[in-house]
């Protein structure tokens, strides 16, 4: 049912477009109608990588050009039909994606974008050096159809449409699957995604491979339409920019964005070129540029999101009243007195031995050892800069220890990648929340479930279960952008437990919460502990902690000061000194 509903709009759109195309007899307009799906597919391929992962590629022309040249040269030198060459081009594009992705994914943010920029420019010069400055597709007068050379230009448009439909459906399938969720998780917070058990490098490589394959296939088709291939026309800066332009104009991170962008921009550019350019040559570029600037200013995330937000606002304002009442009711079950058995004597699930990590001369964590027993809540406290978060980062694999071991169930896991540690049963939350604001709570949580779930349905079920455990079921369909800090904290918690961890590392989960709110979150954490999860929590606010934890571990300057029951630790002079300074020790004694 869901599948059909998502299939219908692209199918209808394609049919309508094909209908218009068949009604067009002017060969020039037909050519424009052919170019729209070409650039839409190229935009979609870019969107698949950059839109969903947030890793902006300025170099998608690399794949496009490889596809175009493969299709052209295959015909010239080996006399292979483009019907075969375009799939081959897709394969080459995929391989190129893998080869480019592997080294380049070491970089992030702007560095990734700039590195990507270099590939098509470098390849451009290689093709010039090889002597392929101008390549034309041989005209096949005897077997035109076998070589995709149609005298009826409608067929090109229909072929382009078919490729576009296939790409849209593929993108939709990815969007809904574990693949899409993994990419979105990488976009919101790559570190958090790793921590949630997602092998980010593997998913990114899959994304760039697929993206490269699509871009190369459409590049091959483009060569077939243009009939002439030059390095500038397929590897040039303008080609890479075209993918960004249509996607950003239409909307990034959605299947409809590049399509909308292409449907509007490509004909607009041509009309301007034909009409304004005929009177004042060059003016078309100026108008086109200004138009794009205006749209980006008014709808910075693209037309699609702007329209969707407007639509949502209209429907939301009606439903708002009842919604609020529901949300209030959805609050967490009342705080029950701690009836849980203190687990400090149970078996050891996590053991840290002489763990150290230094950054240059700074010893952030030095020689820390402790044991986490099954089903206990361990509070890790210490003043700012004591090394608490660094310790967590060492535990879940963000950082490699300089020395020491982390044993999970007796197995040494120090130095493993975060997603491996997550698979071993360690979940974590972060001090700074980075939810995906446009996604619903449930979708935010599903990301965490994939580490255990085998199928998409199972993941959804596990996510719904996790949402219920933190008491957010009633608001599960709301988008994260509308939530309060408390709800976001709970959502983070739900994401961390969706993967059914045995050990949970909570990093300042109570930060930024008011008194009453903190109590509600504390209640949820206690419930989780009752359900058998072992918890280590970092926190500043002593008050809440004292009631929550079974045992304290106190850090200062990266080293353990003391360890023990809450009532003992809070009276320890060394702890008071670390928190408040020497002169308070005397006061505290009184």
């Amino acid at each position: 049912m869901l599948r059909m509903r998502s299939l219908l709009p692209p199918l209808l759109f394609t049919l309508a477009y094909a209908g218009i195309s068949l009604g067009v007899t002017n060969s020039y307009y037909q050519l424009i109608l052919t170019l729209v799906p070409v650039w839409a597919v190229f935009g979609l391929s870019w969107n698949l990588l950059s839109g969903y992962t947030g890793l902006i590629s300025f170099g998608h022309a690399a794949f496009f050009g490889i596809g175009a040249y493969a299709t052209a040269l295959g015909q010239i030198y080996f006399n292979i039909s483009p019907w075969l060459l375009i799939p081959i081009a897709a394969m080459l594009g995929g391989i190129a994606g893998l080869l480019i992705g592997f080294p380049t994914f070491r970089l992030q943010g702007h560095y990734f974008a700039l590195a990507m920029l270099a590939y098509p420019l470098a390849i451009l010069y290689v093709f010039e050096w090889l002597g392929f400055q101008e390549v034309t597709l041989p005209i096949k007068r005897d077997a035109p159809i076998a070589y995709m050379q149609f005298s009826d230009p409608h067929i090109y448009t229909l072929l382009g449409l078919a490729i576009m439909l296939a790409t849209i459906v593929l993108t939709q399938m990815i969007e809904r699957s574990r693949f899409g969720m993994a990419l979105l998780a990488i976009k919101q917070n790559e570190a958090a995604a790793e921590a949630a058990g997602i092998n980010t490098l593997a998913w990114k490589l899959r994304a760039i491979t697929l993206s490269g394959a699509i871009a190369a296939a459409i590049g091959g088709f483009y060569a077939q339409v243009l009939l002439v291939v030059t390095p500038q026309s397929v590897f040039g800066m303008l080609v890479s920019a075209q993918a960004l332009t249509v996607a950003m104009f239409g909307g990034v991170g959605t299947v409809w964005g590049p399509v909308i962008g292409s449907v509007i921009l490509i004909p607009l550019a041509e009309i301007l070129h034909a009409e304004a350019g005929a009177r004042i040559p060059g003016i078309q570029g100026v108008i086109f540029g200004i138009a794009i600037v205006c749209v980006i200013l008014l709808a910075p995330e693209g037309l699609f999101w702007k329209l969707r937000d407007l639509l949502r606002k209209r429907t939301a304002s009606k439903a708002a009243v009842s919604d609020i009442a529901e949300a209030a009711a959805a609050n967490v079950t009342a705080l029950k007195p701690a009836s849980r058995q203190r687990g400090a004597t149970g078996e050891v699930v996590l053991e840290v031995k002489n763990l150290s990590r230094s950054f240059g001369g700074l010893k952030a964590v030095q020689d820390v050892s402790f044991k986490l027993h099954k089903n206990e809540i361990l509070g890790i406290i210490g003043p700012n800069g004591a090394g608490k978060t660094t310790l967590f980062n060492l535990l879940n694999g963000f950082l490699k220890p300089s020395q020491g071991e982390v044993l999970i169930d007796g197995r040494n896991m120090s130095g493993q990648r975060p997603h491996v540690i997550c698979e071993a049963g360690v979940g974590r939350t972060f001090q700074v929340m980075r939810p995906f604001l446009r996604m619903s709570i449930l979708d935010n949580v599903v990301v965490g479930a994939y580490v255990r779930a085998r199928t998409d349905d199972e993941a959804r079920k596990m996510a719904a279960d996790a949402v219920a455990r933190v008491g957010l079921s009633a608001v599960a369909d709301r988008v994260a952008g509308e939530l309060s800090t408390k709800e976001l904290r709970l959502m983070e918690l739900a994401r961390a437990i969706a993967g059914q961890p045995r050990i949970l590392l909570l990093d300042e989960t109570l930060a930024g919460l008011g008194h009453g709110e903190a109590d509600e979150v504390v209640a949820v954490i206690q419930q989780l502990a009752r359900d058998g999860i072992t918890i280590a929590i970092i926190e500043h606010t002593m008050q809440a902690m004292v009631r929550l934890v079974d045992r304290f571990l106190v850090l200062d300057h990266g080293a353990v000061i003391t360890e023990g029951l809450p009532e003992v630790v809070t009276r320890d002079n060394r702890v008071i000194e670390a928190y408040l300074g020497k002169k308070w020790v005397g006061h505290a004694a009184n």
Binding site: I20, G23, V24, T25, N26, S27, Y28, Y29, L31, I32, L33, L35, Y125, E128, W129, G131, Q133, E134, T136, P138, I139, S151, L226, L227, V228, T230, Q232, S233, G236, L238, P267, E270, I271, H273, A274, E275, G277, A278, P281, G282, Q284, G285
Partner: protein, 411 residues
Amino acid sequence: MDKTAKGLSRRTVLSGAAAVGLAGVARAQAPGEIKVGLIVPLSGIYTRPGQVMKMGAEMGIEHINAQGGIKALGGAKLKLVVIDCGDTTEKAKNAAQRIVAQEPDLVAATGSYLSSFTLAVTEVTERAELPVLTLSYSDLLTDRGFKYIFQTAATASRQSELGLPTLMKLAENASGKKPKTVAMLMDNTATSVATAKALKEKLFAQEGLQLVVEEVWTPPLSDATPLIQKVRSAKPDLLLFMPNAVSDAKLGLEKISEFGLGQGKIPTVSFSITIAEPDMLQSVSPETVQGIMTIVANWGSKGHEALIAELKAKYKEPWMTQNVISTYGDMWLMKEALEKAGKADRNAVAQAFRTMDAGPSKYYPGGQLKFDEKGRRVDAGVVIVQWQSGAPVTVYPPELAQAQPFWPKKP
């Protein structure tokens, strides 16, 4: 375009894809008017050559119409349809598609400066059976088995084949000895690469020249010092300097001058019109370019004095480059074909080009107004142009020469 036609076409285009059915509408046409097309870049980085080609076309049409139009068609007047082919191959292809879709009564066209653009344009015009004349000289253009393209210039490989021996002869006559060593500095654009290939594979050996320095750069050139340093230490008898951007040419020539190799201390030769463009004088002094020669497919020469004067008066162009004179000549060639065809029909005009044999050509160097089966002008020649006192003048072939060549001698 008359007013009705213009208004109609604007509306059709603006109403966009939905209203496209309208496009094939036959247009009202003034009686006795025959449309010919000019597909050239009028926006983007190749605007300037496009503009001067337009000047040539406009002058040609004006002269033909003033002299009574097409006599075989009752004195019908020619009308120029100009279309901007932009600065990319995709734009060029779109422009060609537009002109064939919206100007169904066009009988012939000319264009499109850069050979990449001409390649894309002719892929469309070939299928629409519209004959196209071109001044682009890539060999590939007429190697595709196309029937509706006619290349008026000698192809790139032919130009170096013709140019280098002539140059060597010139050197021998003027200085009394044949150059023995040569240095080659080139950018890596299609034209330079094709020329260099012909030179290295065949012509240097044939002329007994030894290549002592070979340097290739990717435009834009940022610093010419290392290139020129190599030339200075190798002291070749001949320097082939092949830039295709005015800025690259300027940098190279200034460095040559700075190193004291200018003014013919090492005779410098180029293979494109870049180095003889009027723009050059805006960035370098006449002394810097004095004596430099270039081998080109066409140039305003002896016999074109009235034309050159008119170009100067009307458009303020100091001299007549290949782009102007070839496009001007194309208009006359179209007239010739129309007279021969006897009707304003593109296929008849194409057939007239194929079978034409109109004797020696007036506006292209050498050969005949006759095309071979590939569409190449029979015996198309080259022109050697030399900078003399602040202007590039034709020095070869003798029948076109405006001045005697001088071969700079090593001091």
